[in-house]
């Protein structure tokens, strides 16, 4: 296996982006930041891969238009996934493993505010027995949250603790669109919205984009004194049916965890769009009590569709670069109620 590291990361997050859903306007400055961080030009990038979905904002072939932000004369080696940035990164990592390229810039974008996100996401459900009913994302998370409450796996206080810590940490993150911790008691005194969920248990609808730069071996060392080396990368999927799996667990997260070495992880950036989902993930990953969770504030405070997962990896990588931690894990999820889970283990020393 080739040693591959995260060496660049840039992000934009906002409650409402008033520009085109192609997001070229956001991507151009993101790429500029990546060139600045690496000292490269676009011609130094061996492979490009993006993540987006036209369903999000109703603009057909938005990923084709987004390529404008790269500039494609001479032509570029480019691909796309209808998945989060983290999965685009997975494809790029594989591409580097093949030996065909040594560097990659992956990016993702989404303008969720153009439609009704929790409704649009019903299109990712079983098209025969679920989509025709339009079960919305918040409700499916609510069903999952109650299953855990009923089973005694967690309670509303534990969920509020997650929210309070996230809102407090988000105060230090310029990109978080919801911030300001108070106390567990104060959060629990707020009205229940989608019983059993309160609004702060649900990630806010977020527009945004992000980019991650990967490099192999010496090219990574040339960019950073302390690259964030990818020592493990795995993802797994659970059945889509809400009725045939134990909603209080995420077997796919446990399976991904078993495929990587989480020993010694000091920091975890977990992509948990709903507060109780962080509790599920901590259990499935077997994270120790002293592992720092989501210092960025996490997805509960800002969750741009299609980049919210990859941002977790970028946030974790930036804390490796700075020397703050030596080993971290970035997690991304996709699908309803933690159906799909990806883990990316990053280390400062290999």
């Amino acid at each position: 296996m080739r040693d591959v590291a995260v060496v660049g990361f840039a992000q934009r997050q906002m409650a409402e982006f008033d520009g085109s859903p192609t997001c070229v306007e956001l991507l151009v400055p993101l790429f500029a930041e990546c060139y600045e961080q690496t000292g490269w030009t676009r011609r130094d990038i061996g492979f490009w891969c993006s993540g987006s979905s036209d369903y999000l904002a109703g603009r057909s072939f938005s990923f084709v238009q987004a390529v404008d932000a790269i500039g494609v004369i001479p032509p570029v080696n480019e691909s796309h996934v209808e998945m989060d940035l983290a999965w685009a990164m997975y494809e790029a990592w594989l591409k580097i493993q093949t030996g065909e390229v040594d560097t990659a810039l992956v990016y993702a974008f989404g303008k969720a505010s153009a439609g009704v996100l929790r409704r649009t996401l019903a299109l990712q459900l079983d098209p025969y027995t679920m989509t025709p009913l339009w079960p919305d994302t918040v409700s499916l998370a609510g069903v999952q949250a109650r299953a855990g409450i009923d089973a005694g796996a967690w309670d509303e206080r534990a969920m509020a603790e997650v929210a309070n810590r996230s809102l407090t940490d988000a105060e230090k993150n310029e990109y978080s669109i919801r911030k300001g911790g108070s106390s567990v008691e104060e959060l629990l005194s707020r009205p229940v919205y989608a019983d059993p969920l309160r609004k702060h248990d649900c990630s806010p609808v977020t527009d945004g984009a992000a980019a991650i730069v990967l490099a192999a071996g010496d090219q990574a060392r040339e960019v950073r004194d302390r690259p964030a080396w990818i020592s493990g990368l795995a993802h797994s999927v659970d059945p889509i049916s809400m009725g045939t799996r134990d909603l209080t667990r995420a077997p796919s997260a446990a399976r991904a965890a078993a495929a990587v070495d989480l020993g010694g992880v000091e920091l975890a950036e977990l992509h948990a769009p709903f507060s109780h989902q962080e509790l599920i993930l901590r259990r499935e990953l077997g994270l120790a009590e002293d592992v720092r969770i989501n210092p960025s504030g996490g997805a509960l405070t800002s969750n741009p569709m299609f980049s919210g997962g990859g941002i977790r990896i970028g946030e974790a990588a930036s804390r490796i670069w700075s020397g703050e931690v030596s080993k971290a894990v970035g997690h991304a999820t996709s699908g309803p109620a933690l159906q799909q889970n990806l883990l990316c283990v990053l280390e400062g020393n290999i």
Binding site: G58, D68, I70, T131
Partner: protein, 335 residues
């Protein structure tokens, strides 16, 4: 003035899918007022039946009728329903394990407040008035008053709500098995143009054609783009281009199609406006189709100003200027 122009847009499509033998059996059952589960290799009865066994991966072949009554195993309240959901007023989603089944299924539960819903409560199916063989034939679940806390029993006709026995339903039950479902999908958006596109459409609303110039390669894009697709450089400079240009290539439309606005034959052409580096596709009128040629000089013919809006359709068509044809070399790089 807002930074960008935006407008509502609806994207809609009716998805037509074949059901295959397993889901076909399930939907045929729904149409006929019977909920059908499937028995998996571990002995469990799963509703809706999975097409393939989750353990052996063999096609599922054993079907089991289950009751139209069951027990809520989890639920969530919907304070603000979205379009297309079973109710347009607050309701609950519930996982319901039907009597005779081992796994729950998701559907709506009719209740007027979350106080009326609880895990463990007994519910029964409310059938849709008209059933076609789709998941929506099951309109929702509804509470079974007075049965809360009663242990589920084996499926039986005494527990199920009386099934409709009108002529239409009887006729339906005799018809062939369901082999397909049609799911209409309609999504509403607010579509925004980029700042550069917004300037373009605002220009058209004033009878002008605006592009953007790439500071790197100096090419002028009409309609404008936020970044030069060749260089990736943001296009910073707004440029007004001429309303006269050259036909670079064209096609004669001879084939009638649904929604066609002009009687064939007519000409669609790429027009390279003077001062632009990208041709725009438009209609050529005022000349017999057979006389249109590459290099022909044409000019924009605008609709009456009263009809202008934020659209390229403000230009009704292009027509010949009568000038001599342009030299091939002037547009050879734009083909």
């Amino acid at each position: 003035m807002t930074r960008t122009l935006s407008a509502p847009v609806t994207v809609a499509f009716d998805y037509t899918r074949s059901t295959g033998p397993v889901l076909g059996r399930f939907f045929t059952g729904l149409r006929d007022g019977q909920i059908v589960g499937g028995r998996t290799s571990d002995g469990r009865v799963v509703v809706p039946p999975p097409e393939f066994d989750p353990v052996t991966h063999e096609p599922l072949t054993e079907f089991v009728d289950v009751a139209a009554t069951g027990t809520v195993t989890s639920w969530s309240w919907v304070p603000e329903p979205v379009k297309g959901q079973p109710f347009d007023r607050p309701f609950a989603w519930a996982l319901v394990t039907l009597d005779g089944a081992d796994t729950p299924m998701l559907h709506a539960l009719d209740a007027s407040s979350p106080d009326q819903v609880s895990t463990g409560m007994r519910v029964r199916v409310r059938w849709a008035e008209e059933r076609v063989g789709a998941i929506t034939d099951l309109a929702c679940f509804e509470p079974v008053a007075g049965l809360d806390g009663v242990e589920p029993s084996e499926p039986g006709p005494d527990r199920a709500r009386p099934q409709p026995r009108n002529e239409a339903a009887t006729e339906q039950s005799r018809s062939a098995d369901v082999s397909g479902v049609i799911t209409p999908v309609s999504l509403d958006y607010i579509y925004a143009a980029s700042p550069e596109e917004s300037a373009f459409y605002r220009g058209l609303n004033q009878g002008r054609i605006l592009g953007q110039r790439c500071p790197t390669c100096q090419k002028v894009y009409v309609p404008p783009r936020s970044a030069c697709p060749a260089d990736g450089t943001p296009t910073a400079e707004e440029v007004e281009v001429s309303q006269t240009g050259t036909i670079t290539t064209f096609c004669i439309v001879n084939v009638p199609f649904l929604g066609q606005k002009i009687t064939p034959p007519y000409v669609s052409a790429y027009v390279l406006l003077d001062g632009a580096d990208i041709a725009v596709l438009h209609l050529i009128l005022g000349v017999p189709a057979a006389e249109v040629r590459m290099g022909m000089r044409v000019k924009a013919v605008w609709k009456p100003e009263a009809e202008w809006t934020y659209s390229l359709e403000n230009i009704d068509h292009f027509e010949p200027t009568g000038e001599p044809d342009a030299d091939y070399d002037t547009y050879r790089d734009h083909l």
